[in-house]
Point group: C2
Chain length 339, copies 2
């Protein structure tokens, strides 16, 4: 446990797919600070989360390559010489996946094969850390949820993310491409997409609070969730990327405590000093894929890597609100549309 | 339990995808005997298992439509008016899936979305029974394996079959397309592909015995498997298709007893009166995706539907050997290549 995972990255060639997105860009900031050689790949597809402003201030200390990870020949080239790949590219909207399951399949499932085949044929010594999701569990049998619970996704996005994760494990076990998956719960913080509300509720809630608009809670808002501040999520990726004890494994990466939607919204309104909470009936399409309460048991990852969340929900929300207040036009409105 | 699932099919419009294949054609025989209105869809892709001889004797009592289930517009048309779809089309080779993961993805994963989207948009009242596989479990934690064990596939084929199965459950839960999945273990019997050895070992063993060739057992052959005779598998599909208690569920469908590879090969040689058993080292590519011993606990399906395997392994092997001896040229050699 005395292994210094930060020093591991000094001068190390890393690649982040989805590197201009929310978690990818925060991870890139950490890696730049650790003097890694950072290459970001991002498709900058409209509405998916990639935003050049996310690397504002570090753009001259890394390389950006606009590309779609579904492009095999491009990925064959880009993975060469990289020591670690943080594989974060994906379509993250549950709702979109139910409207257009084929696009979700292409981006979350087929594209993972593209990355892994590129590694198998052009850089088999690489280490890959995949951004998994708690969505693969669906509605939990019991709480908190650890990795022994069944994978039982409730929407197409969850299925395709599960398949993408399984590919990584099979390539680890069969082809020796070292890989693991972090099943993240609800990540929040600066640089998340808040242009629309189809990528999870927390970024959207933060936008509504800042705009002093009502925050709609479905039902009584008693369902529980856990939240991870994006810096803590980035730290989890750094640890997993440097630690071969993670290979071939899946890990829950979640927050330290569970909080209800209702209490979260109340805390957010109090923190922001604006917005208000409003209770409404469940919309039918959202109710159909809701999973009730969910919070993760991250003991396995903590034990393996020494990781622990360092930022409390109160502090994280405060910093997040301050970030978006300072840079609102980069994430909402005409400038954000051009991003 | 007094519900007569056989009478349910009289005059009923059913569709079997992969209907010229091994299980599909045996199921078609049962349905024709029950006076169902049977439509078979099959792509007749070389080496996949579809064979027109499989419907010899019943061809004038059903309809055959050659088509690829990946074709959305074709499927949109073919699913109309059908009351039950037995969704059996697929690529079944583990080995092929590791050589060409994209084709396996297209056929086992994307194609299932095509079938389900056709149902959602053109026949939402239909019932769908999916042919799942024990492969989704990978290497078991304990034996026998029931449905509470984790899905942890060891090859690309298993991952894509898992995704295809999950789609059915999500379409059941979210869109109300009644669907369930039967996770079949090792099915054997007449009409299985025996042209090559990439679709599982039992059909291949039977061919070798008939040809009086050595049957190669990897290692000491002590790993256990359970086997289901194809008539029993067809009966499982009939029960699941007629029974709404199955909707939204996955079920193991396996044999009554486990037997080692070694004992199976010995029994087969004795039954056929030809062939011989030969022990060899594990080939590396097969060892990498081997799962050790596996046999299923099918209690959940038995309790739900009253199903039970009716054909012993000894009787099943005897009838299978007799079938292939009578029709060998339809399955091996020039005539089979044209099939």
């Amino acid at each position: 446990m005395t292994f210094d995972y930060r020093a591991f990255y000094r001068g190390r060639k890393v690649l982040i797919t989805g590197g201009l997105g929310f978690i990818g860009s925060n991870l890139a900031r950490r890696l730049v600070a650790l003097d890694a050689d950072v290459l970001l790949v991002d498709s900058l597809i409209d509405d998916y989360g990639g935003n050049l402003f996310n690397i504002d201030g570090i753009a001259d200390r890394l390389h950006v390559n606009v590309a779609d990870i579904r492009q095999q020949t491009t990925m064959n080239y880009l993975v060469r010489d990289r020591a670690v790949i943080f594989n974060l590219a994906g379509q993250v909207s549950h709702i979109d996946s139910m409207r257009d399951p084929y696009t979700d399949l292409e981006i979350n499932c087929r594209s993972q094969l593209t990355v892994l085949e590129a590694c198998r044929n052009h850089n088999p010594g690489v280490k890959v850390v995949f951004a998994g999701t708690r969505q693969v569990y669906g509605r939990p049998d019991s709480l908190p949820v650890d990795e022994s619970q069944l994978v039982r996704p409730t929407d197409v996005n969850g299925i395709n993310k599960a398949a993408g994760e399984y590919y990584h494990l099979v390539y680890n076990n069969v082809f020796g491409i070292r890989a693991c998956s972090l099943r993240l719960t609800n990540v929040y913080g600066p640089r998340q997409l808040i242009k629309h509300n189809r990528q999870g509720f927390i970024g959207w809630f933060i936008r509504l609070a800042i705009e002093n608009r009502p925050i709609q809670i479905y039902g009584d808002g008693s369902q529980l969730r856990d939240f991870v501040y994006v810096d803590d999520a980035a730290d989890a990726f750094l640890r997993a990327g440097a630690d071969d004890r993670c290979n071939g494994e899946v890990f829950n990466v979640g927050g330290n405590e569970a909080i209800s939607h209702r209490d979260l919204a109340t805390l957010l309104v109090k923190t922001a000093g604006s917005g208000r909470v409003e209770y409404v009936e469940w919309p039918a399409d959202k109710k159909a894929i809701d999973i009730g309460s969910f919070y993760a048991d991250s003991t396995k990852f903590k034990r393996t890597t020494g990781w622990a969340p360092g930022v409390s929900l109160g502090d994280g929300l405060r910093d997040t609100v301050a970030f978006y207040r300072a840079h609102f036009s980069q994430y909402v409105g005409p400038a954000a549309e051009r991003a």
